[in-house]
Amino acid sequence: ACGKQGTEEAGKSSSEKESKSDSVNIGMLKLTSSAPLFIGIEKGFFKEENIDAKAQWFEAAQPIAVATAGGSVEVGATGITASLYNMVAGGQKLVIVADKGREQEGYSSSAILVPSDSSIKSVEELKGKKIGITQTGSTYHYMVGRVIENYGLGLGDIEVVPLNSIKGLMESLKSKQVDAVLLNEPNITSVVNEGYGKVISQVGEEIPYQTSGVFFSPKFADNKDAAVRFLKAYAKATRYYYDAVLTKKDGKLVPGENYDEVIDIIAKYTDQEPDVIKQGLPYMDRDGKLLEEDIKTQVDWYAKEKLIDKAIDTKEIVNTELLEEALKE
Amino acid sequence: MRIVVENVAKTFIDSKREVTALQNINFAIEEQEFVVLVGPSGCGKSTLLNIVGGLMSPTDGLVYFEGTNQKQPNLAIVFQEIALFPWRNVFENVVYGLEEQGASKQEIQEKGQHYIDMVGLNGFEKAYPKQLSGGMKQRAGIARALSVEPDLLLMDEPFSALDAQTRTLMQEELLTIWNRTKLSTLYVTHNIQEAVYLADRVIVLSRHPGTIKEIIRIDMPKTGRDSEQNREQFEKYSNQIWDLIRHDAQEALLEG
């Protein structure tokens, strides 16, 4: 109900924009990858743009997309999964407007791991093996599929095992119930430190991948003024994030300016220890720009694997104009 | 006001067979008359009482009140199983009928207490049925029936669950109460002594199908029937009835 109210207000204030601030509900997870949004809220970037941003915490990714498409929240921020494409194909419009984390060469994020005493050393050897992922149609599913394609394998050549939780993935790896799993940071570090797993392939080294994004409900996207202002604040936050944690010196990551502040903000919002957070900072475009190209690749891949019901036109779901306009100002 | 039972018949249709429980039953209960139904087990006594009480439809015939003067006549039943509401205490049980008639609070209080006193249960108003002995439960059941001051009181073996001594004492008491209220009554029993002790008229039913074998008027004063001087006449009636049903009773025992 509060979601609906928000949209109404947003609609109103576009005509009388001065005094009243737009109320925007952001559906997101309490995970590090939501960092720019935390920063935006915490440092008041949204408020500067006269946007009253409210966090709506979810415990799983898919409901965020559903809630955004259904208009319960104006903005969703989470992984880009097959369900999102299917929803669009099924007539529920929503638009992806900005980057919220991607796989990038040189930055550790997601990787394929095998048990430390496994004989498997490279991706080719995964043929016929069991690989643990979270859910079908998830980003994990996609990454496994795409990575093995680089080695001449297809999804038909391996057995994909959905385990529905990260912890399930780790436990299955530890007890060697699967031959390999896909994991993200900080869990990779934790596995490697505990010594029961080793990395055989970094996803970022294999493919560029727009893992997650920020999307707008159709109604919010139509309220162009507020949408642009929102993205202005968002871009400011991504820059803040990038400069703090993603700066490199001589090819190595070094703490940037405000490093500790950003880590503290993330720790506050996710109830996690700062040390753990430091290991799991995902790559993000400094301006929050989407890898528009990759969206098309994703759609094609999902369609090829029959994980999307009907083919969709990428243009329907990607909107880069809003961000460009925001960046222009 | 009298109650007429006209041509009543009842056939139960099971998945397997048809049982004609009652056939061709005709009689009337006059105002202030105490009619007792006796008969061997399974002859249809309860069936007939249920039909008169509006708890079962007859297959044929009908039962009606005559001379009601437009007033909606009311009935009360005292059940063999007593059927007190376990979740109501004695007082709440006794006034159930009054509550449902929409009596005023004061009326409920007064009449309830009156009939509880009448059956000798004062002091037990707050007790729940399970805290009472069998005899006390049945007193409460009787008080519940009396409290609505019914135009016809139906009683289906009210004392058969009681022990021998309690039963004797309760019969005496019922007679005392009845002499005060003089309600038209239809009473079912197995017990021939009980029938002779209480009835103005005894209707003897036979089995398979249940028909009226004989209607016997008990020509004795209503009080003191168990006294020594009435002994002979009492035994005469008892033997007459026992002769009428002995054969049926033996058969019934083996059929279940």
Partner: protein, 263 residues
Amino acid sequence: MTEPRQTITNRVAFLEQRIPKYASVLGITGLLLLWEIICRLNIVPPLFLPAPSAILTDAWEMIATGELFKNLFASLYRVGIGYALGAVLGIVIGLILGFSRWTDAIVTPIVYSIYPIPKIALLPLIILWLGIGEMPKVTIIALGVFFPVVINTFSGVKNVDPILIKAAVTFGSSHANVIRKVILPGSLPMIFAGLKLAAGTSLLLLVSAEMIAAQQGIGAMVLHYGNLMITTKLMVGVLLLSLLGLLFNRGLQWLENKLLPWK
């Protein structure tokens, strides 16, 4: 005969009312029809609530490709074993709890405190202990079945007339025989009520159970299409579960009538 008459009629006829056989089909078809109409009138977008006809079309297709049966059999196997396990354990433990006051005092609080623990929260632990094969799936279903059965069996035992136990003891029955020959048959009616409740629960839990590394199964199928937001196919799974629930219930009713001819 000119006097006014007040006929006495049967006032409890409603207790004996006979209902035609078709009535039980009426409700469900009515519901389906209503649903179809709502969809046809486009009151709800098909993504949110696909029409029964659309679901049937997809179901037909899934039958044709063999997908449905493959999943069905995988699930039936799990439900079968899990249900049997949970039911047997529930009945045995319920009987013991009901029979022995000591075990009752000690174990009942444990049962009631384990019952509200959500299995989904413990999925990783279950994987740790039981792996990702059939074991954890069967265990989750068995756990779900266990609780209603044990609770009902326990009440059933408590309702067995003590006079029957006394009779058995008088005739020399050992404690084991008292349980087997008196308490078990005496609590069967309540046990069946528990079994019926558990039938629904076991199907309900298929989805949770098949969250663990299931390649096949109705739960896995529902999750798969749920993850992909292909709602029509998701609803095929959901309707299949509800059909199974109905059949399961009827089957238990039939078994009850068979096993309790003395009722």
